[in-house]
């Protein structure tokens, strides 16, 4: 039942905000406090879930809820967590909570805090639901729940180009969702069940090769839009650039993970032959994404847009890991997901702080010398950038390294030479990644500051510290001791791929 509580808490919180302002929580500060309390309680529930989780049996779905929902068409309200979803659940709850902490002092321009709080809570419902759902249709419902709140967050609190960005975001992802739904229903109808655990246990038995190939293509495209995979990524830079800080953090930190999580959770185990058929293509698009994203970053002049493009590259590593169809590759993908959530979340928080202080995210207007005009801000940016470029000892490295390891020896059914070439190209992509992050640090933090430096640029508010510290600590923890995460995921990943 703890998982029902996990999704019900933010939902009830959002519903409570429907009570007119005059009767309940007058004033924006009270509303944000209420949001922080609700998401804090949700985080507490998520941590409790992690605490009661039996790590010895991480490959079994635990703490499950399985009720009939619409029996006439076989829908069930089926939730559960295993080692694959648990880290993402905790990450999502953490990021949402940190967003509310950040909102307490740094509300985006556009007012209407009550609406924003409610939307973010609904967003949390959708994300947590997606990561815990074990019924295909239920999964899809939660998957779609996030769209409208995020659309509204971008469209109402976004930057100057928000209307176009929000429209592109929702239309593009809806298009992907359409394909996803068709693919899922194809699997559900042909296999005769919508239960994801049953489908995973069958490993594609009972589905013809043609159906599998078709279903993987449809579902894969749907998830690839969300991930995003090159060349389906163009909604992302616009959405990120225009979204307010909290929107960017949640979009990059948790929302994108739904795409790669979906591939691992739904597409890989239920239609393995389809996966094997499309894996080289997936790998190809992944490495193109890595190099393309890095090159695009080298030429960006906007801080947030640069971070957005870096996500394309990082998700490329995640997809490359998945494409190898090996336990180590999928481990890499899950590790990369968490690492990207922590690091890019931090990067967007910092980028938001830069934009708030200097009034622009344009690198040319910002000039340099951030290390002397705002040393701590620049220090945190440096930390996040170095983590993001994959320095060993910080979170970003392990996902990339394991993806390369997987690509060097992919699943036996895949063409090895092709994947070794992917590995080499991805390695070059890692150099380019370092290049653009160092270019960013060099132009932004080094040199002398452009006068006049805004008043109070150097001061970091307590709220900012509170929002950054957990992400910094998490980056260090999983970076220095990757065992924390790998021990949780390795078992279930092996089971998922049909190994021992």
């Amino acid at each position: 039942m703890i998982l029902v509580l996990l999704t019900a808490l933010p939902l009830l919180g959002a519903l409570a905000l429907l009570v007119p302002a005059g009767r309940f929580l007058p004033g924006d500060a009270a509303v944000v406090r209420f949001g922080a309390a609700v998401s804090g309680a949700t985080l507490l529930v998520a941590v409790c879930t992690a605490a009661v989780f039996d790590y010895g049996a991480g490959s079994r779905t635990q703490l499950g809820v399985n009720r009939s929902w619409a029996s006439s068409i076989g829908l069930r309200f089926h939730l559960g967590v295993d080692g694959i979803s648990l880290p993402l659940v905790v990450l999502t709850a953490l990021l949402t909570f940190l967003c509310f902490v950040h909102l307490a002092r740094h509300a985006p321009a556009g007012g209407r805090t009550r609406l924003l709080t409610g939307l973010l809570l609904v967003l949390e419902v959708g994300m947590l639901g997606t990561f815990t759902a074990l019924d295909l249709v239920l999964f899809f419902v939660f998957f779609e729940v996030v769209l409208v709140p995020m659309y509204a967050v971008i469209a109402i609190w976004g930057g100057p180009g928000r209307a176009d960005a929000a429209r592109k975001f929702i239309l593009y992802t809806l298009f992907g969702s359409g394909l996803l739904l068709v693919g899922m229903l194809l699997v559900g109808v042909k296999a005769g069940t919508l239960d994801m655990t049953v489908l995973a246990a069958r490993h594609g038995a009972g589905l013809s090769r043609g159906v599998q190939i078709g279903a993987f293509l449809l579902m894969g495209l749907g998830f690839a839009v969300k991930t995003p995979m090159w060349p389906l990524h163009t909604w992302l830079p616009d959405a990120h650039t225009e979204a307010p800080t909290v929107g960017s953090v949640l979009l990059a930190g948790a929302l994108l993970k739904m795409g790669t999580y979906g591939i691992i959770r739904v597409a890989l185990p239920s239609v393995p032959h389809g996966a094997a058929y499309w894996a080289p293509w997936l790998g190809l698009f992944a490495v193109i994404g890595i190099v393309y994203g890095a090159l695009a970053c080298l030429a960006q002049t906007d801080l947030k847009r640069l971070i957005a493009f870096s996500s394309v590259g990082h998700m490329g590593f995640v997809l490359l890991g998945i494409a190898t169809l090996t336990p180590v590759g999928v481990n890499a993908a899950l590790f990369g997901n968490i690492a990207h959530g922590l690091i890019t979340g931090l990067l967007f928080f910092v980028a938001g702080s830069v934009k708030e202080r200097y009034g622009t995210g344009d690198l040319r207007e910002l000039g340099g010398g951030l290390l002397s005009s705002a040393p701590r801000l620049a220090g945190t940016l440096t930390f996040a950038a170095v983590a993001s470029l994959g320095l060993p000892g910080l979170a970003g490295f392990w996902g990339e390294m394991l993806a390369l390891l997987g690509a060097y020896r992919p699943h036996a059914a895949l063409p090895r030479g092709t994947f070794v070439a992917f590995m080499a190209v991805a390695g070059l992509g890692a150099v380019l990644t370092a290049a653009y992050f160092l270019r960013l640090l060099s132009t932004l933090t080094h040199g002398t500051p452009r006068e006049p430096v805004p008043v109070g640029a150097a001061r970091i508010s307590a709220v900012e510290y509170a929002a950054w510290a957990p992400l910094v600590a998490g980056t260090l923890l999983v970076g220095l001791w990757p065992k924390t995460l790998l021990d949780v995921t390795t078992g279930p990943v092996r089971a998922l791929l049909g190994g021992g």
Partner: protein, 691 residues
């Protein structure tokens, strides 16, 4: 023992974390005043190192601020105490290994990755213990020296913390038993070098140098990482001793590929051609950092890794041949470039490239112990040279040789230390560098003259010369077609031609090294002082440190007398001394004619080419940097116009289609009625015609 090794690594790491988080706070806690106010508004835009400490330079030899409240300087305590403790522990480990030289190892934990597991494991053998002592000694010296050298720096705290982190990373490389763990230390060193070289980031040039150092080494590191993966997946383990035992399971092609890929990383870190270009620019960092990078960490890591994985290279002689050729190019090229530099630190930088190439050459011809011997000796004398150069720069306020001169009488202690350093660099007997370089030359000579046709393999293996893991590792190497083990030399099966090339290049380098060392020595300490002000000896913390370091730099060579292959041999020793004398004498004679002028003037038209190191930087800029930048802009344009253009184009197309479809429903009753009528007509017509 493993706990000790882990502690040696963790102590500087803890120091780094503490220093980064709470350095200045400790000072306040102890009641001392922070060195300088917060860095806001602090701007220093001057020529590299010289301008880094403008106040200190003007102040001359007065005791700097940090010395004044000595024990109350929080960051300094946080940096020096752990470094000292690590040094003591490393010395204990070294002594223990000296007395009973069998390797010890142990694992803390195993990380299951889903494929090849990663072990957090340490190994202490003779090689690791020796390097451990060297690294800790140099790190301690650098930390102590920096307390005075960086006393005026507002960011001393973060500087000292990064030095600690750097040390910890190098020690992790030294003691690691697992290749991936080694890689972690390897990369962290890269990023520390980025932070430290870019320490004076107010100047864009320093920032560029830092970025360059990180990117060039990272390029090599990608090869290194892939090499590790190739080896690890092939042998199903990243554990170094196990892996070296399983070498014969791997196909020969895989071995060669892995060895070559690893060489990419080695060339990057040890600054060998073609990835050497970052090192001279790295002089942008504060001088103690140059000492740290050049003497004991970073550049030593590459040579160390080849030595650590030596059985792999013996089994893949093609890779050794490649290493030998790269070494020849780096050795001679860098020595020539050093001849024409007008910046004291850049002379030393090119000399580092050249000397590292000597070590690499030693490895290539199978003289592993000699190469390690030279690594240690070089660590000692290069630390002296850089720290002494730091003193010179500290008091004269410039890096340029043109601003030095006549410092012999003004800075007697620095002069003495630096003389020892230059003598060791050039290989003047009986200073350390002479012994170690001679051992390498002897090895090359042996490989050139005996390569390929040696007497029957003997049972005794010379690699155990330094009493370390070589003995434990080498028995697993297949003798015979691949390796020839004689009584004193392990000669890998590299082509005899390459062995000859290496030998001749080594001899040429001896003469060139003597020439440029002589030039720098003369220009710095003799003739008339060409700078401004009245230079006096540097603060005591600095001059004592270099004096203390000069002792091992001078006498270290005698420790080699215990091993047969490290002992000087008459033929090569005489030849070496003759070449040395020729090189030094040539410079001296040119200088004598006009002590005020630079002896490099005789190079004539070649001089600018040498000064710019054969224009390799310009070549890379044209061949790599600019194309990548153009490509990046191309991608950005394509992304906006084509990839995103397709998306927005779809939207536009949809809207246009919608317009077409909408037209019949435009709200005009007349057209509706016309439509209805037309429909009726069509239906009637169909019914009439077909039924």
């Amino acid at each position: 023992m493993i706990v000790l090794a882990a502690l040696i690594v963790l102590l500087p790491f803890a120091a780094a974390v503490a220093g980064l988080l709470a350095g200045p706070r400790v000072t306040r806690l102890l009641g001392g005043a922070p060195a300088t106010a917060a860095p806001e508004g602090h701007t220093v835009v001057t020529d590299a190192e010289a301008g880094a400490d403008p106040d200190a330079v003007q102040e001359g030899a007065t005791p700097p601020a940090a010395a004044r409240f000595g024990l109350r300087n929080g960051p300094a305590l946080l940096a020096c105490v752990p470094a000292g403790a690590a040094f003591v522990l490393a010395a204990i480990v070294g002594l223990t290994l000296w007395r009973s030289p069998h390797p010890r190892s142990g694992a803390l934990t195993v990380v299951d990755t889903g494929a090849v597991p990663i072990r957090v494991a340490f190994q202490v053998d003779g090689l690791a213990a020796l390097l451990g002592v060297l690294v800790c000694a140099v790190a301690l010296a650098v930390q102590l020296y920096s307390v005075a050298y960086m006393a005026k720096d507002p960011r001393y705290s973060s500087y000292a913390a990064f030095v600690s982190l750097f040390t910890a990373a190098m020690l992790l490389v030294v003691f690691s038993r697992d290749l991936l763990l080694l890689y972690v230390g390897w990369e962290i060193m890269g990023v520390c070098s980025y932070f430290l070289i870019g320490h004076h980031w107010e100047d864009r040039a320093n920032s560029r140098a830092a970025v360059k150092a990180f990117l060039v080494t990272r390029l090599g590191d990608v090869g290194f990482l892939i090499g590790i993966l190739v080896l690890g997946v092939g042998a199903s383990t990243f554990d170094i001793p196990t892996l070296l035992r399983r070498l014969d399971v791997l196909p020969h092609g895989t071995l060669v590929a892995a060895a070559l890929l690893l060489l990419a990383g080695v060339a990057g870190k040890s600054a060998q051609f073609p990835l050497h270009t970052w090192l001279p620019d790295a002089m942008a960092g504060p001088t103690p950092i140059s000492a740290l990078i050049h003497a004991a960490t970073m550049v030593a890591a590459g040579i160390y890794v080849v030595a650590r994985l030596y059985p792999l290279y013996l089994a893949a002689p093609a890779a050794l041949a490649v290493l030998g050729v790269l070494a020849v190019v780096s050795m001679v090229g860098a020595a020539l470039a050093a001849l024409a530099q007008d910046d004291l630190k850049r002379v030393l930088a090119y000399s580092t490239i050249s000397q590292l190439a000597v070590m690499a050459a030693g490895l290539a011809v199978g003289a592993k112990s000699a190469a390690i011997f030279h690594l240690v000796a070089h660590g000692a004398f290069k630390a002296v040279l850089f720290l002494a150069a730091g003193c010179v720069i500290f008091v004269t306020g410039t890096n340029l040789l043109a601003g030095h001169g006549g410092l012999r009488t003004r800075m007697p202690l620095t002069f003495a230390a630096m003389t020892v350093g230059f003598a060791a660099l050039a290989g003047v007997p009986p200073v350390s560098g002479w012994f170690s370089k001679d051992a390498v030359i002897e090895g090359a000579q042996h490989a050139a003259t005996h390569g390929g046709h040696l007497p029957a393999p003997g049972p005794h293996d010379a690699i155990s010369g330094l009493g370390e893991g070589g003995a434990a590792l080498s028995p697993h190497v297949k003798p015979g077609p691949i390796t020839i083990v004689s009584e004193t030399w392990t000669i890998p099966a590299i082509p005899t031609g390459i062995a000859w090339l290496i030998y001749l290049a080594l001899l040429l380098t001896v003469a060139l090294t003597a020439a440029y060392a002589m030039r720098a020595w003369l220009l710095t300490f003799f003739g008339d002082y060409r700078g401004t002000g009245e230079p006096r000896e540097a603060p005591r913390v600095m001059s004592w440190t270099i004096a203390a370091l000069a002792v091992p730099a001078a006498i270290l060579g005698f420790f080699g007398l215990g091993a047969d292959e490290l002992r000087p041999h008459p033929v090569s020793a005489l030849l070496g001394v003759a070449l040395l004398a020729a090189g030094a004498a040539a410079t001296y004679l040119v200088w004598k004619r006009d002590p005020a002028a630079d002896p490099a003037r005789v190079l004539g038209r070649v001089r600018p080419v040498l000064a710019r190191a054969f224009l390799v930087d310009e070549l890379y800029a044209a061949a790599v940097v600019r194309p990548v930048r153009r490509l990046a802009h191309g991608v950005a344009v394509v992304d906006r116009q084509d990839v995103d253009g397709a998306v927005t184009g779809t939207a536009r197309l949809t809207r246009r289609l919608a317009d077409v479809v909408r037209r019949p429903g435009g709200g005009d009753p007349q057209s509706y009625l016309t439509g209805v009528l037309a429909g009726v007509v069509v239906i009637v017509a169909v019914v009439v015609v077909f039924l």
